[in-house]
Symmetry: C2
Subunit: 138 residues, 2 copies
Amino acid sequence: MNEEFVKLLHNNQLKATASRLSVLQIISERDAAISQPVLEKMLGEDVDRVTLYRILKTFEDKGILHKVIDLNGTANYAICHSSCSEHAHHDEHFHFNCSNCHSVYCMNDFHLPALAMPPGFKAHTVNLSITGLCKKCS
Amino acid sequence: MNEEFVKLLHNNQLKATASRLSVLQIISERDAAISQPVLEKMLGEDVDRVTLYRILKTFEDKGILHKVIDLNGTANYAICHSSCSEHAHHDEHFHFNCSNCHSVYCMNDFHLPALAMPPGFKAHTVNLSITGLCKKCS
DNA sequence: TTAAGTGCAAAATCTTTGCAAATGT
DNA sequence: ACATTTGCAAAGATTTTGCACTTAA
């Protein structure tokens, strides 16, 4: 029973249930975003598939997690860092998809140079996905 | 019966069927990428849903279209331009998603400045998605 | 003519919804 | 105690597969 996570949930007006704590535990242990199918397997029988959908939805709404759609269209989730909530998800997201192990890394430290937009286009969110080999697979 | 499309199909060892020509016609008329559900509606009864899946898959494999997953995880398709096939899809892709009309624009003309990768990471494909308002909606 | 492509039916997934039972506070 | 959360069952949606029929070349 991790106090930090309990507090995080309570701060967001959420009950600290076993399922929610498991999800937070698993996601926080990874430096890469985790896909919903993989998360599902790791949770095993303990958490119903439907419950997982609802937990992830709730966490996303509260700004606890952010969803990253990978290049296959699969949802991946990662813990939101402070910069996330500060910018209310209107942040720049920089993700690295490993084509070998399919990990998705959130590279929060990186920033894009300013981009010139074509006339008439107004940028709101910038999302950069890079595919390649991650540090473990290259 | 557009000769240009017939030739395109033949160049790729594909038969010029009515369904395929319709798909090419619709996609080529737009400057934005089109989502599979929208494409489906535009084709109406003429093309079976399953056939559309297969056509899009085939076109993607042959490099005639490229698939763009938008921020909702929906597949969008656009004609590949010369730069695409030349680089065998290892190109930089720069897409703009309009949050109002949900159009996806392929901005082939734009190029990203070189990005410094963290040690151990090898970039292969760079995919930049920008969400905001397009020229028609802003 | 005949290999490639299509349509239909049906399976396999993935996601959402409704409601009664269980749980955290 | 009571609102929230979960599990189950079932509906909906999306995507894939198998096979006989059709069509372009």
